[in-house]
């Protein structure tokens, strides 16, 4: 990845040609992500009861686009991200990333994707730079170049150079999440999977991350899958939104299209909040209360 930080504009310029020149087998005519009829069940409990986590989900993300998943906790958003990441096997259906089947061409797909999850998972005693260099080496990057790119990305995200060599455990939750985003970006993913990347961040950090995602999309030629509970964030960042409920896609359209839908069909105010309530049968407040209750357990 070619990353340049200009002091004047503070804009991180990521050269898409340099990214694509890295022997990436990307066909520009195929969708960034194609999910067809994907189903996933888990066997839970002593009774070995099968639970349907994802049910016959299909979607298509065009190259350079951003698709958002909205849904209550347990609706299957993170499971879908894990299926696309190759961290779960498919029971039924198929997933292609830039035309490459995730099961048959596992290594090719792994080189094309990276993920940021809600919990910024690191070796906490290691510094951001040590964590990032480890990731860079796994993706075949030259260490010297990776170090330069890592500094540029971290500084763009507001992490001062003097913090880069201190243990991650000394950083705030928001800063750790920014390092997680930097780790994903460092490997130049053509498909970026963001699983609630701004959950738990303060408003300023959230804004920093959202702005950075927009930059990445514009300048890095990345396609993005985003799950979020922040409806304003989804409205701002996503071209299309799929609403998941009980593992099924119950509505999918552009943000404006979904708002029109609730207004025309259900006579409600055209807001994403009403879209969420209508198609998931619950309010976001219920969802937040459930998370807080779960954290207390």
């Amino acid at each position: 990845m070619t990353a340049t930080l200009t002091r004047e504009s503070k804009t991180l310029i990521l050269d898409p040609q340099a990214i694509l020149a890295d022997a990436r087998p990307i066909d520009r005519t195929v969708p960034a992500l194609l999910v067809e009829g994907v189903t996933k069940r888990f066997i839970v409990g002593r009774a070995k009861r099968p639970v349907l986590a994802i049910s016959n989900v299909s979607l298509r993300l065009e190259r350079g686009g951003v698709v958002g998943f909205l849904g209550a906790n347990g609706s299957g958003k993170s499971t879908l991200i894990r299926l696309v990441s190759g961290l779960l096997t498919l029971d039924e259906g198929r997933v292609e990333v830039f035309g490459h089947d995730i099961e048959r061409e596992e290594m090719t797909v792994k080189r094309l994707i990276n993920r940021v999850s809600v919990d910024a998972a690191f070796f906490k005693k290691l510094s951001p730079m040590e964590n990032l260099l480890f990731a860079a080496r796994l993706y075949g990057m030259d260490a010297g170049k990776a170090r330069g790119d890592a500094i540029a990305i971290l500084e763009r995200l507001g992490i001062a150079r003097k913090r880069i060599d201190r243990p991650v455990e000394q950083m705030s939750r928001g800063m750790q999440q920014k390092v997680a985003i930097a780790r994903a970006l460092l490997t130049s993913p053509a498909l970026l999977l963001l699983d609630e990347p701004t959950t738990g961040l303060d408003p300023r950090s959230k804004l920093d991350v959202q702005t950075f995602i927009e930059d990445v999309r514009t300048n890095h030629d990345a396609s993005i899958v985003l799950t979020t509970h922040d409806l304003d964030e989804a409205d701002r960042l996503c071209d299309r939104i799929a609403v998941l409920n009980d593992g099924r896609v119950v509505a999918e359209d552009t943000p404006d299209g979904l708002k029109r839908l609730v207004a025309e069909r259900h006579g409600q105010e055209p807001t994403l909040h009403n879209v969420f309530m209508t198609y998931t049968g619950r309010s976001l407040d219920d969802d937040v209360e459930e998370v807080e209750a779960g954290e207390d357990d």
């Binding site: 779960l88 994707i113 998972a121 690191f122 990731a135 796994l138």
Partner: protein, 267 residues
Amino acid sequence: MTLLTHELKASYAFVERNFNLSRRYWGWELAFLVYSAAGALSISFIGAQFGDSRLLLTLMVGAIFWNYLSVVFSWIAETISVERWEGTLEYTMMAPVHRSTHLLGSVAYAMVFGLVHTAAILLAMIVFFPNLAVGSANPLTVVTFFVLGSFSFVGIAMLAAILPLLYVERGAQMTFVLQSVLLLVSGVYYPIEVLPGWMQVISRLSPATYAIDGVRRGLIDGASVSELIGDVWPLVAMGIVLIPFGLWAFGRAERYAKRTGKLKRVG
């Protein structure tokens, strides 16, 4: 970049990361080193009190070599449990790296770390027991069994590393139990003939049994490798069988974990 270069770079990533972890946890590493040295010296003093140099060397070899094997075993077996603990397992599993590359890096660091650790303990032994009767030792035999013992132990350690993949909460404890059983049955501090019959059968399945016996007889009796062929072939056979089997089993376990969702962070 060739595939081999990529894989070697990726292997080195695990070596470098583990080195950084050792550096950042230096306090714990130092404490563990002091504990290991104190344990080895304590056991050696049991031999010293009888004024029997053969007994002293027998116990000393057991303490030093077991330290080496247990360090190697721990680093490899904890490949998964450490990442599960830190929450990084999913990220490592997502990376475009073959599992053999991943494990090769862990094994390489484990062996280097084990040698450095063991050298420090050996130094402590020499300081406390400067007049050891090792004049008739056969260094080639000692080195040969160190190497053979290392590789045959790698396969078992790989199998142990599977446990935290399969058993999210208790896998790490299970690897510790396995390591303890190996210590018990492998004749580390006593001849396996003193064990009950059924335990002697199990001891034949442990590579440590043959490796420690070989090192002991090379160091104390000056036996050559050719004289110890009965210890050599089980180690070679175990290395040849267990390493590929460990890799295969690890792949199967990873597939199972992906099917059942066990790679996910817990806790």
